[in-house]
Symmetry: C2
Subunit: 204 residues, 2 copies
Amino acid sequence: MVRTAYHHGDLHQQAHALALSTVREHGDQAISLRALAKQIGVSPPALYRHFADRESLLAELAISGFDALRLRLRKVSPTAPRQALIGIGLAYVAFAQEEPNLYRLMFGGRVLPRGTHPRLDHAGQAAFQVLEDTVDRARQSGFLKPMPLALMTATAWSLVHGLSLLTIDGHLPDADAEPRLAEGITSLLLEGAIAHSDNNKDLP
Amino acid sequence: MVRTAYHHGDLHQQAHALALSTVREHGDQAISLRALAKQIGVSPPALYRHFADRESLLAELAISGFDALRLRLRKVSPTAPRQALIGIGLAYVAFAQEEPNLYRLMFGGRVLPRGTHPRLDHAGQAAFQVLEDTVDRARQSGFLKPMPLALMTATAWSLVHGLSLLTIDGHLPDADAEPRLAEGITSLLLEGAIAHSDNNKDLP
DNA sequence: ATGCCAATGTTAACGGCGTTAACTTTAATT
DNA sequence: AATTAAAGTTAACGCCGTTAACATTGGCAT
């Protein structure tokens, strides 16, 4: 495909990129297909050749977000179990704090309910997988108590997800005001999950 | 004020109630001032005599939500520290699961950013206060480790908030599929926060 | 090379939205 | 009883997502 006056030639990619930067700066509510088309210099219906509707565009942006989160989590170098767990928790929260609008799009729940968009679901699961793998390694090594993997990962995910949203929504002091809050919180959870020789009884 | 053909007489309360039930059933995105006015049988601009704009109406609904959450949390009967903490955590998650659309309005973050609506902020803080008081009592009684109250409550809140949102968004099995997930998660956190003395290792 | 077709643009239009301006009716006050 | 403030009305503006109908163009089969 070649760029001409009539055929744009790169509309899908350009719309995706521009919409992504708009979301990152101003949130998904700032996305308007008409405004997007005007900025690119194309008529509004042209976008419908590349995106079924507004929701589909947002879904693509959310997928980009999950990909970025997955890459971010994968960069946490595998070390001793404790450092690996704390490190991946902090990386998760840091991502949310650096990309609050993108994170809210990914997990806002208002748009794009789970189970309706296979590619989006897959991207989310792939990011989650990194977290689960880290927990599983620590568990396999005997560092954590012998409890169901699903329970452990659900707990860890709930904690970092809740902390992420509460901080980016201003309910808790953010990383600038309380730089060690995230570390304190993750450490506190870890205390309950570590296998202690004198305290390794089963939990419900 | 008396009801006449012209003057409605109860528009504010009726609009609030109808909008609240709409949000509970279909989410805040389903709220349209025009549709609301039509259902009530009034012209759209009439609503502007009672609500500055759509956001103000949503803020009022969110305040109602926080009030309901606060009352729900206050109903948790004060018992031994462990039961009180688990109980209030489960009550929090149960509220979110029973009122997912309302909970998302309260904490969605897309609308109504914190710090812009004093009455809304106050309602949120009042609900949070119940949670903090419960944690503080357990701490004062020596059941929990001697660590900063703010850290403990932030951890507890993050956990129940994250769990609430992940379940209502379908990322984790909900209460029907895994009725003991919330209990397992809160218990797991508690293990890390309990002061490990002999008289605290009583109940599983 | 040419003719066709699918891809990818266009303009025009529909219905819905939040919101404002200007006006009207009613309730309350003086 | 006259006036004023409260709480409705209609009409309109500019935005939005989306669709229908049409136009242009690139690439492929002939």
